[in-house]
């Protein structure tokens, strides 16, 4: 009995430094932000701290500007993931074939992944700037006026294309890893049964890739929802509010307006939204994995 108690004590003793670190860097900031979200507090306010309870949350769910930026973020996530995942899969299938220059293509494809998001945003500023960037020049030869500082639709689509360009290689490489791990027997069996390439993909390859597909979907939705740096560098949320995705709203409220209480409320809300989304997606992944097993 004594030995077991001592063992437990010493176990907790060994764990305590790690628990202290986790508490300090993980739990304390979270509790602080939740606590802050219950107050109306702006650094420049004459009123100081005012306890509002859930007042900030009520305000948030009725805040048209916040809901608009949330809607824009969800739309952005839907469109980018809707393009990235099929495109990444197509590239992965292409790269799983043998052809001359495959290694070079694979290296070039992976290059955007090595770049910092803010560098990507700055690069796209130069690419898209009217009178300087090649995109507006090429499009003008087809009679299309391209100016992301003028057109909301063009600005939105450009942010989508930038994100697709940046992250499709990640999707490709992950699918490629999945494709190479598929055992050859089911594919050979399909071929023996006379299945053509499409049927082999539809009924053999894709079902075997489902766990990878679900994982990629999970990672990309989470990542895209959190986007900030590239968009800030490229459009700063403009023109007007056309690309003011939810994280830009959050940063502007918290840092530019110094509205710490309401900014904390936004953070907590987005955290719970992300957690809810994660839970759904993780359940999906585990369901797919079970089917696969």
């Amino acid at each position: 009995m004594k030995t077991s108690f001592r063992k437990q004590i010493s176990g907790w003793g060994f764990l305590s430094p790690a628990l202290a670190v986790i508490g300090f860097i993980g739990i304390f900031p979270f509790v602080y932000v939740v606590w802050l979200s219950l107050y109306e507090y702006n650094v420049f306010s004459l009123k100081g701290w005012i306890f509002t309870g859930l007042g900030n949350y009520l305000k948030l769910i009725l805040d048209a500007r916040f809901l608009d930026s949330l809607y824009k973020s969800i739309l952005f996530v839907g469109v980018t993931c809707g393009i990235q995942i099929p495109l990444g899969l197509a590239f992965a299938i292409l790269l799983s074939q043998q052809f001359v220059g495959r290694g070079v293509f694979r290296t070039i494809l992976a290059l955007p992944l090595s770049m910092a998001p803010v560098a990507i945003g700055s690069m796209w500023v130069l690419i898209t700037r009217p009178a300087v960037g090649p995109i507006s020049y090429w499009l003008s030869t087809f009679g299309i006026t391209y100016n992301i500082s003028e057109s909301s639709v063009q600005a939105f689509l450009t942010t989508v294309i930038m994100d697709v360009w940046h992250w499709t290689p990640f999707v490709t490489l992950t699918f490629l890893a999945g494709l190479t791990s598929i055992p050859p027997e089911p594919l050979e069996a399909a071929r023996v049964d006379g299945a053509n390439a499409w049927k082999t993909f539809r009924y053999v390859t894709f079902p075997l890739l489902k766990p990878i597909f679900a994982t990629i979907l999970f990672i990309r939705i989470m990542d895209t929802f959190r986007i900030y740096d590239e968009i800030w560098a490229l459009t700063s949320g403009g023109p007007g509010t056309a690309t003011r995705y939810v994280n830009i709203s959050l940063v502007r409220t918290t840092l530019a307006q110094s509205d710490y209480g309401y900014g904390a409320t936004m953070s907590v809300f987005l955290l719970y939204l992300t957690v809810a989304l994660c839970t759904v997606l993780l359940k999906l992944i585990s369901k797919v994995r079970k089917e696969y097993e």
């Binding site: 650094v43 420049f44 300087v132 700063s236 023109p239 110094s258 509205d259």
Partner: protein
Amino acid sequence: MEWWEKAAEPYRGVTLKVIGQSTAPSIVLRDIAAPEFEKVTGIKVDFEVQPWEVEYEKFIRDVTGNTGIYDAAYIEQDAIYAFMQQKWLTDLTELMEKNPQITDPDLDVNDFTKFIEYFKDSNGHIFGFPFEAFLKMYIYRTDLFNDPEAKEAFKAEYGKDLKPADTWEEYEQNAKFFTEWGKKKGIELYGHTAQAKTGYPAVAYEIVESIWPAMGIYNWGINLEKWRATVENGGQVNSDKAKAALRWYVDMLKYAPPDVKTYTWDEESSSVAAGKVAQGLVYCENLAPLICNPEKSKVAGKVAVTKPPTTPEALADAKAGKGYIGYYDGASYSIPYCSKNKEAAWLFIQWVTRKGWDLEYTRLASRVVRKSTLESPEIKDMDIAQGGYFTAFKEYESLFSGAAPLPMHLVIIDIYMNWISKAVAGEATPEEALDGLAKEIDEAMVKLGY
């Protein structure tokens, strides 16, 4: 240098952490003045230069957290009221009185231009020593305005002589003329430029600090007695005059380069230096390092500077001391209240604002904060090289004013930016935008306790 060596003796080996903004004068301090200070005093300077929004964010985090990371910080004039109200800055008048042994006997506070007045509290105590100060002036291309062919074409079209604009009507005519002239000649030339990037505060600052004052709307359209913006509550933000001014601003963008809605204050000056525009309002800190620098500019030696166009009413108000025609822009270096090396920081601030360096500093960065510099014979050569800026500065300085004393300025500028961006981007009409802006400012003022 003997005094500096002696005064700095107790602080030799100390490392000062200084944060500045990425303006030309700050970069000159980092690259030239700070290393010289280190050499003379033995006090090391870790000088960090950050973009506008990052600098503020870092400074505010330092003072709200009482961390004492920074010993001296760049404080832009329009933000000082907020920081003084929060008691985030060290009272330098008090510091001087308590520490005569580290106060330069040649400091000569009275030699500073009137700009230093905007860094004082209501008791006349100084909270920052200005090191950069400049006016946002009207700049025009002398080669184009003196081109006989252009002059003839202008006269034929408008029935009067082509000349730099005194009024906004003249400015608009010039803008239209040169934009069409550029098209006709097949050259990339526009009649106007602006800092119209949406979603970035520069666009809001241009309206409240340059366009509105020169059209007779002051203090950002806010009634400073009632702290309200709507017409119903005594403000001017949604007044007919303010709406007409914003509509004019938005309409004028058609005479600017096509990428004008990506321009902040930096790109606005770059568009002039690139030879793309015939006239515009620019922050004159960019004259020496960019627009008038032959190595970086296509228009060096071909520009002249004078006061911005105004309405007759705004000019009369400014002359009578009831208004102003533009923002007297600039910044000081101040000591955060939580600095751990206040005395050494005070030596550094005196070093970068001292008389003996001011003329050379003006040559490098077009900024001027001392009367003795403006009166020195050497300024004449610089004046010629910089399009007559210093002559214009002396002549029109009195018509400009520091920012409206709005202690909540950093909060409300974001609200101005949101609505003005909507108008510039076409998401709302200028009238809708200013109605929305005025209402939201009134709400924000209540929320902030005003």
